[in-house]
Structure formats: C-alpha cells, structure tokens
Point group: C2
Chain length 528, copies 2
C-alpha cells in the first residue's frame, strides 16, 4: 500500500470504502455526525458501531478535504440508501461537495497529540511543541468532547506554569487568522468579565478614536451573562461586520465596536470555551491564553485590561488579582503586547441598568453628559480611557484622565459614537425598556452595604436579558445609599408575566441587597 509519507498503522489497516454523500438535513451544531444504514455493507465489514469515530474524506478535483464524525446507525430506509453516507449540516458544508459525490470513510486516527494530553492528565509539564500539537488538534476538531474536557480539567488542576500559558497562547494565535491594520499602535481595552452593567467599552472607544488613536474593538456576545458589549451595541447598530467592512470603518473613523465572532480569530479558544462553560472552569492560565490570543490575533499592540475585584466578582481576593495581573503581564510581554492591567472596584454592578437596552440608556446618558448619567460608569470609563490615551507618547503619565474628560465633556465622544453607529448601520429604532415591571423594596431602614453581582445577573437573565433586549434589572440604589423600609431598591423589567413571576420569585428568596450600617461596607477595594 504505497504512500508518500510513513503512515500510522491504523490508517493503512482500515480499508477505505467508497460511499455516496447525502445531506440528511439534521443540524448537530459543532458535532459532525455520519449516518450509515445498519445494512450498509461498509458498516458491517468494517465493524463500525454507533458512536464510532470515523474520518470522512471527499476528493473534489485537486481539493481533498476530510472531517472527523461520529457514526449514528440508521434503520429507517426513507432516510438513506444502503450505500449512502448521510452527513449533518456543518459536516456536509465543510466538505464542499454536491449530494451524490463519492466519499470514503475509515476508522479515525487518534489525534497525534494524545500522548501529550495523557502526560498532562498525569500532571506533567508540557513543552512548546506539545502544546502547539494539542492546540492544532483542538482547532482541527480532532478532539472528542471527552478529550477536550480532559484537557480543560487537567490544565485547571495542575495549574499551567507561566511558560506553558505562553506556549498555549502562542499556539492559539498560530492556528487562527490574524488581522493586520497596517499601522501602529493598535490599542484595545478589555475586561475579564463577571461584572453586570460594565459597559465602559462603548464610552472608551469613542473617546480614544476621537483622540485619533486606532481602536478596532471586537467584543463577544453574552454567554452566561445578561449582556455582552456586542449585544448592547446591537441595540444601536449592526455589529456583525465582514472584516473588509470593519477595516473601512476603522480607517475612516479610527474605531469600531463590532462582534468578534465572525473573524475566527482564535478557533481553538472557541472550541475550548464550549467545554469550559458547562463546567464553570475559568482557571487563570486558560483565561490569560483565551484573552491574549484573541487580542494578538485581532492585531492589538497595546492593551488596557480591567480586572474587577470584589466579593461576588470573578476575582475575589487581592492576592489572586495580583497573581493574575502578573501572569497577564508576563505572557503579554513575551507576545510583544504592551499591557496596562488595572485592578478595579468590583463590589457592585456598574451603572444602573443590567440588560442590553438599559445599558444603552446608561451609556448614551454618559456620552450626552446627561445629569442623570450614572457617575460610576462615567468615572470608570474616563479612567480606563485615560490609561489607553497614555499609550500616546505625547500624553504625559497622569494626564490621560483629563484629556479623556475634555473629549467627553466637549461632545466629541458623542459625535464620534454617532459616526461609528452610522458607519456600522444604525438601527431603525432603539429597543424600549420592557413593559412589565416589578420593584423590589428594602426590608429595613439603613444603608446599602452589599450588592450581589451574581444574583443581579441571574435575575436579569430570568427576566429575559439578553434575548429580550429591553428586559433586565434597573438599580435604583447603589452601595452606600441610605434607604427607608419599603423604598424600592431595584426594578425588574420583562415582556411576559411568566418571566416576571420567575425573576420576582428569585428576588423574593434573596434580593441580592444587604441593608445595614455604613461601617459594614467591604473596604480595601481600590479606586485605581
């Protein structure tokens, strides 16, 4: 059996037999499925079973593409002929062939990096080449969910050392696309997440772009939170932009606020996240590799990083925050990114609104210099924008805040935001706050001493955010405010009575607010 490379045994051993490709019209999302009739001669001869992993290969002229898929065995003769290979939607699309095209299948090879994965499971340290090999297999969808989960748990437990994090980050950049903006610096601002209402990007970007620095911001949609920057920006304009359109906008306006999901910037990260989320795993090494690989791939050269610290934030102790900061700094430096990581006050949600439309209202109040604008959102955005502006060699250290405030107060930030919105494609109308409301009242006279970020996020999600743009929670009181018994603490907004009932039920069990004496407020959280 001649071959131009030394093939692994199993590939030789499996006789590849030709079948006819059929699109079965079943969408299995990222999990490729190959459907085979039980009475198919290939199925019988090769000893495939339901859930066997196979490699499906189609040759189309010069092009040869293959995918890995799991076998489902079909008894229904309406669905497939006995020499047909049915393919799920994504699998069919990837092979790029027409129905009826011949395809070959063989028992799948185990991924090349399996020995390295097993070494990591055993707690050993991996080399540069090993981590690159693992990430290539992950990005190539060669890992099963079992193998992905094993990698995520193993790297979570025996924490990756800082060089392993560096190798992982480099590898994640290498397997994806890298954007090039033809000039430097390319600045960016990112938050590690977990703080509801923290929509500073929508204020920082117009300020920085108005100053003339290049800030092509890409954001994610909410996965487990009540709103991501992409969800919120989408209330105002289109965010799903092809890269060429994004480039035009950025060159014309010095900035944008787009959804990053379309660019395939870090495909291995997208695969890993699909496993990390259900396990709620977010170890420091994985977080650093995930964030920095996306930033490097997006072409950023200078980054301000927001690390909120608080009792219900993602990072809960100053020691952990400092260690995380050092790890970000080490990897960023080695990747050639200038990083300014700031530990911020994460004791409570930022601004008043939680949910896309409510957060848009807060952001636009700040940009409009409306006296009703939430002061904490304004101040935090100005501080972060100031840090970004100080990447400009002409701005003296410490002057960034004042420059940012001038740009905001003068209306230039608002004008820039409107230009960006128009360029991206302004929405016909703004989503309104949801119609049905319920106010949660204070059980006692006193001072607001704590607000539970996780609880607020959960209530906002039960109310329908981010799917229902106008739904969410509107905070009427913040940390340190005096309240009287019966006075409303926050308002729940929803579109349906059912959702209102569920969100209210959760709020009744625990409102998420603590009322007490002023000295009970947690201290030691820096205003940077």
């Amino acid at each position: 059996m001649p071959s131009d490379r030394t093939p692994p045994i199993a590939e030789d051993a499996a006789e590849r037999v030709s079948l006819v490709a059929r699109r079965v019209g079943i969408d299995t999302y990222r999990e490729n499925v190959a459907y085979l009739r039980r009475d198919c001669p290939v199925y019988r001869a090769e000893g495939f079973q339901a859930l066997s992993k196979v490699e499906v290969t189609a040759t189309n002229g010069e092009q040869r593409r293959s995918i890995l898929a799991v076998v489902n065995v079909v008894d229904d003769v309406r669905l497939l002929g006995d020499c047909d290979l049915g393919l799920s939607e994504e699998a069919f699309a990837y092979l790029g062939i027409a129905e009826g095209h011949p395809v070959r299948i063989a028992h799948a090879e185990p991924p090349i990096s399996m020995p390295s994965l097993k070494r990591k499971i055993a707690g050993e340290r991996l080399t540069h080449d090993e981590l690159h090999s693992i990430v290539r297999d992950i990005a190539g969808h060669r890992y099963s969910k079992i193998e992905l989960a094993a990698f995520v748990v193993a790297t979570n437990q025996f924490e990756l050392d800082r060089d392993e994090v560096l190798y992982l980050t480099e590898a994640m950049v290498d397997v994806g696309r890298k954007l090039d903006w033809d000039e430097k610096p390319v600045v960016d601002k990112h938050c590690i997440g977990g703080l509801p209402g923290n929509r500073t990007s929508m204020i920082v970007v117009p300020i920085v772009a108005a100053h003339g620095m290049l800030i092509p911001k890409t954001s994610s949609r909410a996965i487990t939170s009540p709103a991501g920057t992409a969800d919120t920006m989408e209330c105002l304009c289109r965010v799903d932009l092809p890269f060429e359109r994004m480039r035009e906008i950025v060159h014309a306006h010095r900035g944008c606020l787009a959804w990053g999901g379309r660019a395939a910037l870090s495909p291995a990260d997208d695969v890993l996240i699909s496993v990390e989320r259900p396990l709620s795993i977010d170890s420091p090494g994985q977080m650093v590799a995930s964030i920095l690989s996306k930033k490097v791939a997006a072409g950023s050269t200078h980054l301000v990083l927001d690390i909120p610290l608080g009792p219900t934030a993602k990072v809960r102790h100053m020691d952990d925050a400092q260690r995380l900061k050092k790890l970000f700094e080490y990897v960023a430096h080695r990747m050639g990114v200038t990083l300014d990581a700031v530990i911020t006050d994460g004791r409570q949600p930022v601004g008043h609104g939680i949910g896309p439309a409510l957060e848009v209202r807060d952001v636009m109040q700040v940009l409009n210099n409306d006296p009703a604008a939430p002061i904490d959102l304004r101040n935090k955005a100005l501080r972060l924008a100031g840090r970004v502006l100080e990447f400009d060699r002409d701005i003296r250290g410490g002057d960034g805040f004042a420059v940012a405030r001038d740009i905001l107060d003068s209306g230039r930030a608002l004008a820039k935001m409107n230009a960006i919105i128009d360029a991206q494609g302004r929405a016909a109308e703004l989503p309104r706050p949801a119609r049905l409301t319920h106010e949660v009242e204070s059980p006692a006279d006193g001072t607001v001493t704590a607000i539970d970020c996780e609880r607020m996020a959960r209530i906002a999600r039960l109310a329908g955010a981010p799917k229902v743009k106008g739904a969410g929670v509107d905070l009427l009181k913040k940390l340190g405010d005096r309240v009287a018994r019966g006075e409303p603490l926050y308002r729940i907004l929803t579109d349906t009575t059912t959702e209102l009932a569920f969100a209210r039920d959760v709020a009744v069990r625990a409102s998420g607010f603590a009322i007490g004496a002023p000295e009970e407020i947690a201290h030691g959280y820096v205003e940077f």
Copy 2:
C-alpha cells in the same frame, strides 16, 4: 404553578409543551438524541438549539418516565412533522410508549451533583453523600460526556483517598442490581488485566466447582485486549445467559463461565468505562471501585485477586502493586468481602496462544493433562485455584495447591468443564486457528530475556483477534529459552493477507522479544 415539591427555578420557568413521539430509526447507542423540526413552534418558542440538553417526559397511565437527550435540529420534512419529537432507538425504548404518544420536553436541569463535581475539580475531598449523589446522576445518564470526563480526570489527578474509594464503590453497588445466590460462601477469582493469554479462570472455575464450592463466574469481553474470558469461552459454548438460566446452571453444577454484560450489575461503572477507555485512564481508585462494585453486585463473598507485576504489565513497580493491594484490601474489608490479593509474575504472556481459539487450545490442553500443555498456565491456574479452595474451612492453609492438582490430574476438572459447557449450550464446532501464518525469527543466538506484553497484544489485535476467533499470536519461545539465529520466536495467525501484512509490519519494526544473556532477565518477580 403548584407542585407537590419545591421545584428548582428552571423547571418552573420552562413551559413544558406537548409534542408527538416518533421513532426515527437512528441508533445513537448510549447517547439519547431528540430530533426537532426547525420550524416546530416549541423549538422556536423555547429557544432550544442543536446540542441543547432537554428532559423528555412521557406519561402512560400511572407510569411517568423521563430521559435526558440532546437536541438535533431537523430540516428534512420527510423525517418528522412539525409537532413531532423524534427519538433515537434507546431513548424511544426506555420511555416505553407507542409511536404517536404525547411527550413533553423542557430544558434539562443541571444534575443535582454538579456542585460536588465542581468541588472535586477544585481538588477537594468528597463525602459519602456527595459521591452517592454523583454516582446516582452518572447511572441515571444525567452527566454529559464533558461532565463524565471531568469526573474521571479529576478523580485520577487528585487521587481519591481510601474512604472516597469506599464511598464510590458502595454508591456504584447501590445504583445497580445485586445478585443473590441463597448460600454462602460465593467465591470468585479476578485478574486486574493487562496480561495476554492469562486465561486461568477457565481452569480455576471447573476445579473449584468440582470441589463443590459455588463459583458463578461472570467475565467481560475484550475492549482493548486481544481476548477476554467471555470471548474465549464463547468458542466453546454460549456465554450470553439470562440470569435465571445462569442460576439454574450454577445450582446444578456449582459454577459457570458467563458474560457479565447482561446483568446490569454496575451501570455507573459501564458509563464511566466508556470515558476511561478513550483516555487510557485506569487510576488505582477507579480500578478498585470498578472491580469490587461488580463483585459485590454479583453476590461474591470471597475473592482471590490476581495482580500481575512486570515491566510491560499494568502494574510495573512492586511499590505500586503493594499500594494497590492495600487499597483493594481496605475497601473489600469494609464492603464485607473476604479478599486474598496475590501479586503474580507478569513479565510475559501466560501460556502459548494469544487470541480466543489459541487460548482455548491452551486451556483444554491443561484440562486434558496433555503433555504439550503450557506449564506456566497450568501452574498459575493451580496456585490461584488453591487459594480459592483455601476459603473452604476444611482445607488447611497451604494445602490448596495439592487439592487443586488432584482435581485437575484426576480428570474431575475436565469433566466439570464439559458439564458446564453442555449446560451453557455447546458450540457446534470449535473455531480453528486461522489459515495464514507468518513466523517471526530470532535475529541472533542467545536467550529470550524479555517479552513485551503490550506489543504481543497489539500484534494479535492487528491479526484480527478477538473478532476473528482463530487469529492471534502463538508463542514458540518463552522467557529463559535458548534460541538460535533464524529460529522462530512466534507465529502470527490471520484470515486475510491484508491483516497479515499489517501485523507483520509491526513485528518487523519491533518483534517484542529481547535476545541476550541469561543474566539480563528481569528479577525480583515473585512466584507466589
């Protein structure tokens, strides 16, 4: 929304909407799949997505059953109506309803034990109740593959302490079926695996049963090895016996050699193994829980355990073997099982043949007192049988071997084996050794100083074992044998020229035999 228990939020929140059950004739093995049309009103309203996890519930008179399934989205209108819920074969069978029966679906609850799983991922020690709750969720198929892999890797890394292993074992017994033989003692013999040709059970069982002790042996089929006891016994007779038939045979003949897969003795173990195998994870704690849970569930009260130790066996260092032995002893004692664990010589395969039919030949030569019988298989089987016999209070410690030898030499063991074979259902004819052969020759004059068990197993599998009963490897030389250059070391037997070529290729790269001076043979491996 009234309910007779305090329901978790999400269950309330999901409106359960009625659909019509359809059997779609797709076999997805253990992974339940629910097929929904993309234009199904429920799909749209509830925000299900491909790969969403849902709970499907069917009420049939008094009986209410529910399963968890993942959603696949169907665009093909031939397959389903827009108010149909398609179900994969196992899912449909479990619900026990007819086609067209109404079913309801809702977003699935996360498994109750998720917080405990997350504690284990974080490296914490779990309590009795936590491990029971995890095992209940696993046996109830409530864990996704991601969650299963996370559990397996987390318990592999932060090794379970011995009480955690005990709790895990107890829990695995609790969720399954337990066999009751109405008398005591019920004796058993088990090997932890990894040694090719180690078919002692087929000799131990007839000896022990001929002595009159109750030995209802259940064995597994090969998963990654070239033959399991069930595969080998199947050359001689039926092994897939319903429990009632097994009970009749055992009561009539004092023993059996059946396949254990039918009894659902430790369903959680079956689920865990499906994840451990692809990751090649076999940590001490998981091994002990897996083996002892199956033995307790099978009703065994006394167990002789074979722990082979050797450079290419499963356990490779005496320290590890001793630690594993202590762990088995601790858990067995707490579970009320009398255990005699013996560390055996695992430096080379046992007997001559590797592969079902070749191993049957070896076993029958021993039982027939054939002078050609492999002496190491005979001796090991007699020693293990002797240990089992010493569970009989009337046999003095140290006398077991001699009693076992008498039973074997007198032909009583052979007569008992024939009685068991007839009772289980004798095969019409014995499978013959495969037709095509290739002999691997010694590259030099010298002594056989090592035989690689893993290599031999791999070559036997490439030759077709256990699927092709007559295929495998026949060892012509063993450790310590003198060989001349060009003299055959072993014979590869297969049914097809392709398989012969692959097996031979692997043997050419490394034969698995080391030829050297007698003093190079590894020492320190006890004959127990």
